[in-house]
């Protein structure tokens, strides 16, 4: 059996990327390159108020003084930011009042992706914002949500229609000076999702955004801002796909979440950007800054992520636990295969009293990939009675991959408690043997074990996405093990 499983391992070969098709569309794209003029143009096209342009230019100025971070366990050639298209939009005039106005080609694309933006799918209980390259192309259920006071729209629309909320919250969690990629994003971001849940409202639908990069050579710089007012709740899910090009594309997003008193945001991601081929050619460079601020008392932010795509993933969804008794959670499955590299984890910053955080991270590396968990738990002296529990497990499949665990634990004060544990292992021969002798094929056995390994995280995903995530995992590992 040893030989059989190792021969399967040797035969590493990734499942063809299902979403790798390109949609032929006429697009309006800027020429490649980054300059103050490009930023001015983006702002002009979007007809933004003065304060947004100022925000962008301030970020650009800060960006010019910054250098690309090098501390991550990632190995990639320097990104030439002058070789990126900063704005690309489908040419047809977009009117989002009715789906008939959306380019049928785009509708077809989303149909192929299985995203329910068509009318017939409306009953599925999910409201979707679809972002295609740099703009939002469709947004469902908007009216119904507006009736109960929920704002769910693209961020460009929100800048027009709710400038007071944008002015108050944009950059309040992730300042434009935070790091190289946030400064870049703040300067050139083109679209994204905006959600505002008014007080005492439990959002009746799962809100969701689907991000699609379509144009070759373009970068996607999206910006998401979710605000959950007092005593409210929202669950949000994002999905990401891109066509298979043989050159790398940059995706540098910023996501900001704010929860006020007694409110909760549940943020789930299924990231399946194109990962490049088995030789590491092409794929998305995914440099994302996601951060939530539990500003209010008893508030809660929960991040769940399933990271399966991208050539490079650099992503640390974090929680600033500012309000007393606030809770931060991070559940992550990161799978890397072939030449993929992921350096991902979280930061839990405990500031308020009796704040609690839980981190469950599962890393699976196969092929020649590299998978790193990097996480910070920080408790200041004011955070009395803070608690953290961290568990990060890695699984290695094959002998050429790499798994690293790099936790940072910084604690001050005698009433705070941190527990961290981690393990690294491979799929045990005993487990495989046990399943096989019960007539389960080797491939299904491995899929079963991996599904069990990730169970703690998948159970946090909303509804049917858990089943989908399971399928995605087996697909990604098909022919590599199971």
């Amino acid at each position: 059996m040893e030989t059989k499983s190792s021969s399967i391992l040797e035969n590493l070969n990734s499942q063809e990327y299902k979403y790798g098709f390109t949609t032929e569309l006429e697009t309006d794209s800027f020429p490649k390159g980054l300059s103050e003029e490009v930023i001015n143009r983006i702002s002009r096209i979007k007809n933004e108020p003065e304060f947004m342009l100022e925000f962008r230019l301030k970020a650009y100025k800060a960006f010019l003084k910054m250098t690309e971070p090098e501390w991550a366990l990632l190995n990639y050639p320097k990104i030439d930011l002058q070789d990126v298209i900063y704005y690309s939009a489908p040419k047809k005039k977009i009117g989002k009042n009715s789906l008939e106005e959306v380019d049928p080609e785009i509708l077809k694309t989303y149909e192929k992706l299985g995203i329910p933006i068509g009318e017939q799918k409306r009953l599925e209980g999910i409201a979707v914002d679809a972002i295609f390259d740099s703009v939002s192309v469709a947004n469902t259920h908007k009216k119904a949500l507006a009736e109960i006071g929920i704002i769910f729209c693209s961020i460009s629309e929100a800048i027009q229609e709710h400038p007071e909320l944008i002015k108050k919250y944009i950059g309040s969690v992730v300042p434009h000076t935070d790091n190289y990629f946030t400064a870049l994003n703040s300067a050139v971001f083109s679209d994204g999702t905006f959600i505002y849940i008014p007080p005492n409202t439990k959002c009746p639908l799962e809100l969701s955004t689907n991000f699609r990069i379509n144009t070759k050579g373009s970068g996607q710089f999206e910006r998401t801002l979710i605000i959950c007012d007092d005593n409210s709740y929202v669950s949000y899910l994002e999905g990401c796909t891109a066509p298979a090009f043989d050159e790398n594309q940059l995706h540098a997003a910023v996501v900001e979440l704010v929860t006020l008193d007694n409110s909760e945001i549940k943020y789930s991601t299924v990231q399946n950007w194109y990962a490049g081929d088995e030789n590491g050619k092409g794929g998305i460079y995914n440099f994302v800054t996601k951060r939530g601020k539990c500003a209010g008392k008893n508030s809660k932010i929960s991040w769940t992520q399933v990271e399966t795509g991208s050539a490079i993933t650099w992503k640390y969804p974090s929680c600033i636990l500012l309000g007393d008794n606030s809770i931060g959670e991070f559940y992550s499955v990161a799978l890397t295969n072939n030449m993929q590299q992921a350096d991902t984890g979280t930061k839990m910053i405990h500031i308020g009293k009796n704040t609690k955080s839980t981190i469950i991270s599962k890393g699976i590396s196969a092929g020649k990939s590299s998978n790193t968990y990097r996480g910070l738990v920080k408790m200041g002296e004011r955070a009395k009675g803070a608690r953290n529990y961290t568990q990060c497990d890695s699984m290695l499949i094959g002998s050429h991959c790499r798994a690293s665990t790099v936790p940072y634990i910084e604690v001050e004060g005698d009433s705070n408690r941190v527990e961290h544990e981690a393990s690294t292992s491979k799929i045990s021969e005993e487990q495989l043997f046990y399943l096989q002798q019960r007539g389960i094929s080797l491939e299904s056995a491995i899929a079963l074990i991996i599904s069990g390994f990730c169970k703690d995280v998948f159970k946090e995903l909303p509804g049917e996405f858990a089943a989908e995530a399971n399928q995605l995992m087996s697909l990604k590992l098909e022919n590599s093990v199971g």
Binding site: C401, I409, A422
Partner: protein, 455 residues
């Protein structure tokens, strides 16, 4: 915070001083001299450690830059014999090695040692080397190993500035029953370079207990470097007691290379000193090698302890474990930065890592970073880290049995460290460590009386 420009100025000045001082420290022995010259080059290439580097992230090198700028390389190696008597453990009275301010002192060391098949050689003494060709070969092979790739700034400084040091070598198949004690004294306000090379032949066995003892009442830096080679089947146990004064800074650099089936046990006890930084690197070079690293730090006032550990599993079937425990009170600060690196192909690796901390005050601070970097699939690696206060249930249990609260706290705190203290070889050393621990606890659990009763 001093401004950056001033800091940089000090750093450049620091390196320039080393550069100037090193020219007069060059050895007469060509093989050592050439490595010292390379070391000076490395010092300038590496530059003063910066916070931006992951390994120095939590280390504040300002005290070294500011207070210890005189950089006198101390020539004095005089010491009252009475002091030695006070510090040596009765079990080791005949097996004693002494250095003073980084200088190996033959006069103060016990002479009976060499009768036991051990060679102890001042490796900067050309006459001695001529008489001992085997030892000379060991020095040529192992002193300042791969200095041209050296990545530790302070180790490179030591190599450049050291004026003497000793080689302690145990021949093949020799088992030394007695524990050898090494006393490193610092009694002047200087930047001391303490250097030793320890070599164990095939199947040799040796136990050493080392104390770093500060006597100076003014500031000093002891920059100590130990290089260690364990040949096939060798067993070596090293206990290090850090017993410096409040003015002392100890920079301790240990590099161990382990061959087939060799076994290395290291216990670090960090009990005094203003601040200390252990930089431990263990290379497991041949299958079957095992390294067990343990440490205990008790910190009060504004003291600091940094433990930076790298265990490199380079070949299959090696084992290693790290267990570090600490008690931190007042506004003290500790860092545990342990790393397990498993190279590609190093299957059958079994490595564990555990760091446990007790924080006893609201301003006590711990930075714990247990890291795993793994490139092989058939491995068992785990790590853990806990930070917390004493368990309330345990306190309650003792209180419910009529034990006073202060006593209960002292008992629980002591039992927390006992796991490491038990690993130390010599009984009188264990007692000495317990005493120092209690002294430290005195200020923490404000119960001088009960603590004394416990003594």
């Amino acid at each position: 915070m001093p401004n950056l420009a001033e800091r940089n100025k000090n750093e450049i000045e620091f390196i320039e001083q080393i550069f100037r001082a090193s020219s007069s420290m060059l050895s007469e022995i060509p093989n050592i001299r050439s490595r010292q010259e390379t070391a000076i080059k490395r010092v300038t290439e590496l530059g003063f450690p910066q916070k931006s580097s992951e390994d120095w992230k939590y280390y504040d090198s300002q005290p070294i830059l500011e207070n210890f700028f005189t950089l006198d390389i101390c020539e004095i190696n005089k010491l009252d014999k009475e002091i030695i008597r006070k510090h040596r453990f009765p079990e080791c009275s005949e097996n004693l090695l002494v250095t003073v301010n980084g200088h190996f002192s033959k006069e103060l060391s016990s002479t009976s040692l060499t009768n036991k098949n051990i060679s102890i050689i001042d490796f900067n003494d050309p006459d001695q080397l001529k008489k001992h060709p085997t030892e000379e070969e060991i020095i040529n092979q192992h002193f300042a190993h791969k200095i041209n790739q050296e990545d530790s700034f302070f180790k490179a400084c030591n190599t450049a500035l050291m004026s003497n040091g000793f080689l302690l070598s145990v021949p093949d198949d020799t088992e030394i029953e007695e524990t050898i004690q090494i006393l490193h004294f610092s009694n002047e306000s200087c930047f001391n370079q303490t250097r030793s090379l320890i070599h164990l032949g095939k199947n040799a066995k040796l136990k050493i207990i080392v104390s770093y003892i500060g006597l100076a009442n003014s500031h000093f830096v002891n920059n100590a470097v130990v290089e260690l080679i364990l040949s096939e089947g060798a067993h070596f146990k090293l206990d290090k007691i850090q017993d410096d004064t409040q003015q002392g800074i100890l920079l301790y650099d240990l590099y161990a290379r382990l061959m087939k089936n060799s076994n290395f046990e290291y216990n670090s006890l960090d009990l005094k000193a203003n601040h200390s930084r252990d930089n431990i690197k263990v290379d497991l070079l041949e299958p079957g090698a095992n390294a067990g690293l343990a440490g205990f730090y008790i910190l009060n006032k504004d003291r600091k302890a940094h433990n930076v550990i790298k265990v490199n599993h380079l070949v299959p079937n090696c084992t290693s474990n790290q267990l570090y425990k600490g008690i931190i009170s007042d506004s003290a600060r500790a860092e545990f930065n342990g790393e397990i690196n498993v190279s590609e192909g190093a299957n059958g690796t079994n490595a564990t890592q555990l760091n446990k901390n007790l924080l006893l005050s609201n301003t006590a601070h711990i930075d714990s970073r247990p890291q795993l970097k793994i490139l092989a699939d058939d491995v068992k690696c785990s790590h853990g880290s806990t930070v917390g206060e004493l368990d309330e249930d345990e306190i309650f249990y003792l209180l419910s049995r009529g034990i006073k609260k202060d006593d209960a706290l002292a008992m629980l705190t002591l039992s927390f460290c006992e796991e490491i203290i038990q690993k130390v070889t010599i009984d009188s050393a264990k007692q000495h460590i317990r005493n120092l621990t209690l002294e430290n606890l005195d200020t923490t659990i404000h119960t001088a009386n009960t603590v004394h009763k416990l003594k």
